[in-house]
């Protein structure tokens, strides 16, 4: 890992100012960024830690939404998001216990790994990504593998989830990395069902609209029994072919619906 300058501000405003220079990078829990820097795939000249900012902590219920601070760890979401059990359950199965004590929701969403769990939860929950500058709907936020609507130096200060009537996340783990080979988050909202898929697509997290339409009409696993996904857009690698992933999306969706219904 190349050396860098390190700053740990205590307010969002100071963090934004510290990130203003070229080559500065925000540091969440570092569970992806530090390994990436060790491999010299990233070499920022300055890291700005977000772990000392009190206003980015906390999990709060406000009416029909649950707001999670951008620097909240996966372990804290698992323990504190009791008003949204499917979200807490998902957070409690990211990585391993020590990783969950450091990794953060903001870091996961800013990185937008195509196999990460949080993007599926945010997209299925019709979440709003709150930054220091604006609010971004999840439908506009995810823009492809490792790509988001965030501008340089923009910080995720919180995430507002719409708490659904019923929801479940099913993850088929890649046995070595434990990342999602395919993960499907199904959420039944008052205004419709949302199905978000991670791990499967070359374009990163996506909504499976055909399944959503079928589940709007009949929220049961049988409702999507005949649906198939086009494998051509799926990821194909040594862990699974495109066809295998396309098939798994259907299987995981059915399991999630069955568990949520």
């Amino acid at each position: 890992m190349y050396n860098f300058e390190f700053e740990k501000p205590s307010t969002v405003a100071d963090a934004v100012a510290a990130l203003a220079g070229d080559e500065a990078q925000a540091l969440g829990g570092g569970q992806t960024l530090i390994p990436t820097m060790k491999q010299r795939l990233a070499s920022p000249s300055k890291l700005v830690s977000l772990s000392g900012i009190a206003e980015m902590q906390g999990v709060q219920r406000e009416g029909a939404s649950l707001t999670v601070g951008g620097a909240v760890s996966h372990a804290d979401v698992a323990a504190q998001a009791t008003d949204y059990p499917a979200l807490a359950e998902m957070a409690g199965h990211i990585g391993d216990p020590a990783v969950r004590n450091r990794g953060t929701i903001g870091g996961s969403l800013a990185n937008n790994d195509p196999s990460a769990d949080y993007p599926a939860a945010a997209l299925a929950s019709a979440a709003t990504v709150v930054t220091n500058a604006r609010e971004i709907a999840a439908d506009d936020y995810f823009q492809g593998m490792f790509d988001t609507a965030l501008e340089d130096g923009e910080i995720i200060t919180g995430v507002k989830f719409s708490v659904p009537q019923a929801a479940n996340y099913q993850k088929f783990v890649q046995p070595a990395s434990r990342f999602a080979l395919v993960g499907v988050f199904v959420a039944k909202h008052a205004d419709g069902v949302r199905v978000a898929v991670t791990g499967a697509s070359e374009e990163g997290v996506f909504r499976w609209s055909e399944a959503e339409a079928a589940l709007d009409a009949d929220f049961s696993a049988d409702a999507i029994a005949g649906l198939t996904l086009d494998p051509s857009d799926m990821i194909g690698d040594l862990h699974g072919t495109k066809e295998y992933r396309a098939h798994l999306v259907g299987v995981m969706t059915k399991r999630a619906v069955a568990a949520a219904a």
């Binding site: 890992m1 190349y2 050396n3 860098f4 300058e5 390190f6 740990k8 540091l27 570092g30 569970q31 530090i34 390994p35 820097m37 060790k38 890291l47 830690s49 772990s51 372990a75 990585g95 391993d96 216990p97 020590a98 990783v99 004590n101 450091r102 434990r178």
Partner: protein, 161 residues
Amino acid sequence: MAKVSMTVNGKAASAEVEGRTLLVSFLREELGLTGSHVGCDTSQCGACVVHVDGKAVKSCTMLALEAEGAEVATIEGQAAEDGTLNTIQAAFQEHHGLQCGFCTPGMVMSAAALLKDNPKPSEQEIRTYLEGNLCRCTGYHNIVKSIMAASGQDVSALAAE
């Protein structure tokens, strides 16, 4: 270089470190606490697990400067001053919870974190919790048995190998 100060196993510790200095490097190279092992250096194996403010973390994937002001606990602080092993360490010895011993510091520290939150874990809960701790001797069975014994549970029903 920047100064970092923390409490390690109850004692004040500080040093000048680079931004990139990892917590495990600080512990091993600045303080000489070489019990925390660097097995994989990619946050997979868990041989470097220590507690920071009571929470288990992989010290190879945390910057030393991020532990500024923190209470850090390592394997060296687990036994009493006179060398008497703590309950978990004694159970690992009693139930042969180690073979080569390389993963053991991380296993003991993860076990301590688990038992703090869940004083009587089931065998499955222990196996699930140890997902991020790898043993290349594949000695998991006796590790799990040791942790169950350390939590005061009867392990006589578990297979004896």
